[in-house]
């Protein structure tokens, strides 16, 4: 007996030892610099390690930390209501999930096994904190499950002060976002784009002229009240039947904004700033409604707070709380009407009247919200409000009056009771490129999708299914509201919403998706919270990065790839609007990642509250393999992670090489041909990609460009806007011209901050054209939007054959085999 007890209670149990070993190997292998290249279709990888003592110290440190945690865990479990030997056995076994960590370095080193795809290697390099978090979470979860009597759900108490606190905190967060955006962009900043100035011009016209005819505001250039005076804003307008000029955007939002805008003009505090306060209020109201409804459904405050946090802190809600689009208002109105219909008793006139007014007003934000109004009307009937004539009229009378007014408005505007297809930017509502583009792009497009910026919404979808399982009636209607918004947006030709942050058209679905967070927290298995925490970390990171660099979410950029130098995203996710890939390729990439999201949603449906560390280990291994498998598939389908023209990948590696000066041993894996150092040290800036007229490619498909002789000097290449790490660089340009004399034929410079600050500049004479022109310069810390610019004197024809930039990285040079 005593021997058996010593086996189960000793410190050096295989599980803890193996777990410690896994953590040690995992931690030590993260600090190596890994470079990949594929210039000739052959992949080669170079591992450059730090000095051996540094690697050993990191590994041993991680092991020691794991042992200390294991000791504390054993002590803690022994104090719970378990028999001591059982508590110790369970404490050790809870460490089994740690073994999954060994898979990460294994996948990195065995990349020839899966056909030289470097996607798992990149995942291991980029996403290892998530793997560590998942494993640590699984160990923590198993430790908690080892003492089942600890697992108690929260009580169903309702503290009256919590709802006002949620409202005020949300208002504070949205105001903070507003301060940040204002700091970045100023009152008339470049952040305002797309439809926003048009909504503001209509608001101005309503506030000042009491008219939807924008003519006076346009001729007087009164958009200068909220925008650059040099910019012309005409309101995305159309000629009405009586030849007035009215905006194609609906007047619902401008009508709400106009009193606040008027205060901005009156007080000189900035009309846009004051108008934004209304959007803060609408956003905070939406979050409050979500909190109330989630508490009503789940009977708990904790899940309701989680739903409120998701709707306010995750993108896109966080950013749209400060943008003058109708999305936030529609989200607030639809969820507020929905909740009132849910809680109202038949004949409760005041509540039903308010719900009716809110539902009726939705269509005035945009006609796509008519579908939500119709669904709310059907919901009113299914809730039994037809039993009271007064209640029925209270809800439907505002809807009928609104429908009549709206059709009159449309008839005045377009001559028909509904807008024709011509009002849409692409002349049709349905996407001519196929429905899949929008339906998948809204979720996973790298630049315009919801999940790359707010992956927590995967958990919300899984939670909605739990709501459907536990409260079928409520779950059905909540899902219907979310799905209706999604389909209306996904089938639209401009599903990305135009020039605006992602994912504009899903903002109205946010409150209904957020209810899924509450349902998941209330009814889903415990792994739901583990997944939620992981996704919340990613979501918070994306939100923080977007807040750090808000202008990057405009202009269809692949922000997480280009702006933030996170190379995993670039080339693995679809990028429909960025249009750097083929549509068929994008469709396949979208399918791959949607399948993975579907597996996550399904995995969160399987109930399991038992202590089962081996099952947790198997699930983690399966999850790692599935993510890696999806990345390999995307790497093969798309242009490839190591595509030679992927500047984000290269720049990130330069950054790594600067931060981690590997001075230890180096391993070279793969074919002998490609030289990773050479390939990585040179970033090609293909002239055809950055040249502007009158420069044009020498022939179709060529990267070389030619500039004819011109009457005057002309800049013909600029705009790479790279965010490079500080350090010393060389730019190489290969030029040719029929002229070989001493006269200057071209000039080139290296500049930062979109050309505002020139770092170095050089004149090129005809005599210098035989060899590459070299530009040496030091890039200072914090330099942004670096570019190389070339200009011609115009006297002679000029051909630019190639342009590249090379960092002077001492470390990489030193470790060259």
């Amino acid at each position: 007996m005593s021997q058996s007890r010593s086996k189960t209670t000793g410190y050096w149990q295989p599980a803890t030892l193996l777990a410690g070993f896994s953590w040690a190997v995992f931690a030590a292998s993260r600090w190596a610099l890994v470079m990949t290249t594929q210039p000739d279709g052959q992949v080669a990888v170079l591992w450059v390690w730090p000095p051996w003592w540094q690697t050993a110290a990191i590994g041993l440190g991680a092991w020691l930390l794991q042992l200390l945690v294991a000791l504390w865990q054993r002590h803690w479990l022994s104090q719970q209501a378990l028999e001591r030997p059982q508590a110790f056995r369970r404490a050790y076994r809870a460490w089994w999930p740690s073994l999954a960590l060994l898979l990460v370095p294994l996948m990195e080193l065995c990349w020839p096994l899966y056909g030289y795809s470097t996607a798992p290697l990149a995942l291991g390099r980029e996403a290892w904190p998530l793997a560590a978090l998942a494993v640590a979470g699984a160990v923590l979860l198993q430790t908690r499950l080892a003492a089942p009597e600890l697992l108690r759900r929260g009580l169903g108490d309702h503290r009256f002060w919590l709802a006002p606190l949620v409202f005020l905190l949300t208002l504070g967060v949205f105001a903070g976002v507003g301060l940040r955006l204002n700091e970045v962009s100023g009152q008339t900043g470049y952040l305002m784009a797309g439809d926003e100035p048009s909504y503001l011009l209509s608001t101005h016209s309503l506030a000042v002229d009491r008219s939807l005819d924008l003519m006076d505001s346009i001729l007087l250039r009164e958009s200068s009240n909220f925008s650059d005076p040099a910019r012309l804003v005409t309101g995305h307008g159309t000629w009405t039947q009586d030849r007035a000029w009215a905006s194609n955007h609906r007047p619902g939002l401008p009508a709400l904004l106009s009193p606040f805008y008027a205060w901005g003009l009156y007080t000189d505090l900035g009309p846009r700033k004051l108008a934004t306060i209304l959007v803060w209020l609408l956003g905070a109201w939406m979050v409050l409604e979500v909190f109330w409804l989630a508490r009503f459904y789940t009977g708990r405050e904790g899940p309701a707070l989680l739903a409120a946090a998701a709707s306010s802190l995750a993108l896109p809600g966080l950013l749209y709380s400060n943008l003058l689009f109708p999305e936030m208002a529609a989200a607030a109105f639809s969820v507020a009407a929905f909740r009132r219909l849910r809680v109202a008793q038949p004949g409760q006139l005041g509540t039903l009247l308010l719900a009716g007014v809110l539902a009726a007003y939705l269509a005035w934000f945009h006609e796509r919200f008519i579908l939500l109004s119709v669904l709310l009307s059907v919901y009113a009937l299914t809730r039994g409000h037809w039993r009271s004539f007064g209640g029925l009229m209270a809800f439907f009378l505002p809807c009928i009056v609104s429908a009549w007014l709206l059709s009159t408005y449309f008839s005045h505007l377009y001559g028909s009771p509904l807008p024709t297809a011509q009002v849409h930017a692409q002349g049709a509502y349905l996407n001519p490129r196929g429905a899949w583009e929008g339906l998948s792009g809204l979720w996973v497009d790298a630049g315009e999708g919801l999940l790359p910026y707010g992956p927590i919404w995967i958990a919300a979808v899984a939670g909605l299914i739990w709501l459907l399982r536990r409260r079928p009636g409520d779950g059905f209607w909540v899902m219907l509201m979310a799905v209706a918004t999604y389909l209306t947006a996904g089938l639209y030709a401009d599903w990305f919403g135009g020039i605006n942050p992602p994912a504009r058209y899903l903002v109205a679905a946010v409150p209904f998706l957020a209810l899924g967070m509450a349902a998941g927290a209330r009814w889903a298995p415990r792994r739901f919270m583990l997944v939620t925490v992981m996704l919340a970390v990613l979501t918070a990171a994306a939100a923080a990065l977007v807040m750090h660099h808000p202008s990057a979410v405009y202009g269809h950029k692949v922000v997480l790839g280009q702006g933030l130098q996170f190379p995993l995203v670039e080339n693995l996710l679809p990028a429909y609007v960025f249009a750097n890939q083929q549509p068929a390729v994008n469709a396949q990439l979208g399918l791959i990642w949607l399948c993975l999201a579907g597996v996550v949603v399904l995995a969160l449906q399987i109930d399991g509250q038992r202590f089962a560390p081996v099952s947790a280990l198997i699930c983690l291994l399966a999850a790692f393999l599935m993510v890696a498998g999806a990345a390999i598939a995307a790497d093969r389908v798309g242009p490839g992670l190591t595509a030679y023209n992927n500047p984000a990948h290269r720049i990130t590696l330069w950054e790594r090489a600067r931060i981690f000066p590997g001075q230890g041993m180096s391993w070279r894996l793969g074919p002998a041909g490609p030289q990773p150092q050479q390939a990585l040290l040179e970033l090609s800036l293909p002239p055809a990609r950055y040249a502007r007229p009158p420069a044009k490619p020498v022939r179709a498909g060529s990267s070389e460009v030619e500039v004819p002789a011109l009457p005057a000097p002309k800049l013909f290449l600029w705009g790479q806007y790279l965010n490079l790490p500080p350090g010393r660089y060389q730019v190489f340009a290969r030029l040719s011209s029929p002229y070989r004399g001493p006269q200057p034929v071209a000039w080139l410079d290296a500049s930062q901050d979109k050309g505002r600050q020139v770092l170095t500049r050089s004149q090129v004479s005809g005599q210098e054209l035989g060899k590459p022109v070299v530009l040496d310069f030091d890039l200072p810390q914090g330099a942004r939007q670096f570019e190389v610019r070339l200009g011609t004197t115009g006297k002679y024809r000029l051909v630019l054959h190639s342009l590249s930039i090379v960092p002077q990285l001492e470390t990489v040079k030193a470790s060259t085999p």
Partner: protein
């Protein structure tokens, strides 16, 4: 699946007496809409403030036009000649974007003030600045009363 049954557990949040809510709503609405009520004065107020602040020197004609527009609307079209002459001087030195729109606005002010000759001159300037935009914005109904007098094309 029960889609239509009322849930007995539905709860109402605590409420203030209706007259208190009504009074609060009225007070808030009055505060919110007070500046909106001042609407037509806002153009004048904003323009005067810009002039006092020497706002955007390249675009200083904008507040002058705003003031003149507000005065023209308030006074049935009548405007002091000196005020219009000042706008003419500013327009002749204007280096900003889209002068065509400002010339059109000046033509409208001159027409309403009864100075049709000056209005024609402003229209000529507008066409010279950007013939495409000139033709486009002349479709608006605001020109209908003076189309024949000014020789403007029918839309």
């Amino acid at each position: 699946m029960k889609l239509s049954l009322m849930d007995e557990s539905s709860q109402q949040p605590a409420r203030l007496p209706p007259w208190v809510i009504g009074l609060l709503v009225l007070l808030v609405a009055a505060a919110v809409f007070w500046a909106f009520y001042k609407g037509p004065d806002l153009r004048q107020k904003a323009a005067q403030r810009r002039l006092a602040q020497h706002w955007a020197p390249a675009y200083r004609v904008l507040p002058l036009l705003g003031l003149a527009h507000a005065a023209s609307v308030a006074q049935g079209g009548r405007l002091p000649r000196a005020e219009l002459d000042r706008i003419w001087r500013e327009m002749k030195t204007y280096k900003g974007t889209y002068p065509v729109l400002l010339w059109l606005e000046l033509a409208w002010l001159e027409t309403r003030a009864g100075h049709q000759q000056m209005a024609r001159q402003a229209l000529v300037r507008a066409r010279q600045a950007d013939a495409k935009l000139y033709n486009f914005w002349l479709r608006h109904k605001r020109w209908d009363p003076w189309r024949s007098q000014l020789g403007l094309p029918e839309p």
